[in-house]
């Protein structure tokens, strides 16, 4: 399921609005994932505080969101763009790629919560496809 020209336009268009609240949305997406899918906490057992609002959760939500923001400008070359990050996740972090969809879902929920009037069904469709491709690119180096 590749991105059509319309999908790319939809993603770029909603992202101009997402960027105005990128920190909030990033933090929300990541902290919601830890609460709604508690198995994802297993990757962060070395952190002191995994609750929403904690400094580490906030910072990591920002880190992830900033990268996804960058991916919007690399929809034509996601695999090479995410190559070293894929390498990191595959060989060092070894996050089961089944978890990527949980973060993607929480990101969709956060965008819907913050931008209810902009997150129309066709935009939702394009963003869902985009996030799936980001996840695929991130899993590229796993095996």
């Amino acid at each position: 399921m590749s991105l059509s020209a319309k999908d790319k336009a939809n993603v770029k268009s909603i992202w101009t609005k997402i960027l105005t609240k990128s920190d909030d949305i990033g933090e929300q997406a990541f902290s919601r994932m830890l609460v709604v899918y508690p198995q994802t906490k297993t990757y962060f057992s070395h952190w002191a505080d995994l609750k929403p609002g904690s400094a580490q959760v906030k910072k990591h939500g920002d880190t992830i969101m900033n990268k996804i923001d960058e991916c919007v400008n690399h929809m034509e070359d996601l695999v090479p763009f995410l190559s070293s990050l894929s390498e990191l996740h595959a060989t060092k972090l070894r996050v089961d790629p089944a978890n990527f969809k949980f973060l993607a879902h929480c990101l969709l929920v956060a965008v819907a919560a913050y931008l209810p009037n902009d997150f129309t069904p066709d935009i939702h469709l394009s963003v869902d496809k985009f996030l799936q491709l980001v996840a695929l690119a991130l899993a590229e180096k796993y095996r």
Binding site: D24, Q28, S31, R32, V35, V36, P52, H105, C106, L108, V109, A110, A112, A113, Y114, P116, F119, T120, P121, D122, H124, L125, D128
Partner: protein, 148 residues
């Protein structure tokens, strides 16, 4: 039997009280048909589903959205026995309607997105989302249970 904490019970009942099934149902079903277009396979008798605008304006979609969402009321009122409450519906979806149960999961995702959009991040916070998604996943599981 599902283990609900008191916080989860009160979150689920609280959220249910803040939304209108008649409003969210049509939105969620339309969103599902648009975002996951293969789900349209079950609705060939519904008329024009050719564009997102057609789907969003289709009165059959709206009516069915209301039917499905109001069906969740039974689960909210029977949190401790969702499995048995939904057994006949599960049989119907399997034997009469032949719906792939993965569709229940996909519709549940759309319901969650619509509720988030309606209530906003402060009311539909992480704990509320957790309780609501747990509730929906129990319903989804109950609906798939009688398939064979």
């Amino acid at each position: 039997m599902v283990d609900w904490t008191d916080a989860e019970r009160s979150a689920i009942v609280g959220l249910w009280g803040k939304i209108s099934a008649d409003e969210i149902g049509p939105q969620a079903l339309a969103r599902c048909l648009i975002v996951f277009p293969w789900t349209q396979r079950y609705f060939s008798s519904f008329g024009n589903l050719s564009t997102p605008a057609a789907i969003a304006g289709n009165p059959n979609v709206a009516k069915h959205g209301r039917t499905v969402m109001n069906g969740l009321e039974r689960a909210v009122r029977n949190l401790d026995d969702i499995k048995n409450t939904y057994a006949p519906l599960s049989v119907m979806h399997s034997e009469k309607l032949h719906v792939d149960p993965d569709n229940f999961r996909v519709l549940a995702e759309c319901i969650t997105v619509c509720v988030a959009a309606k209530l906003g991040p402060a009311v539909f916070n992480a704990d509320a989302q957790e309780a609501f998604q747990k509730f929906l996943s129990v319903v989804v599981s109950a609906l798939g249970r009688q398939y064979h």
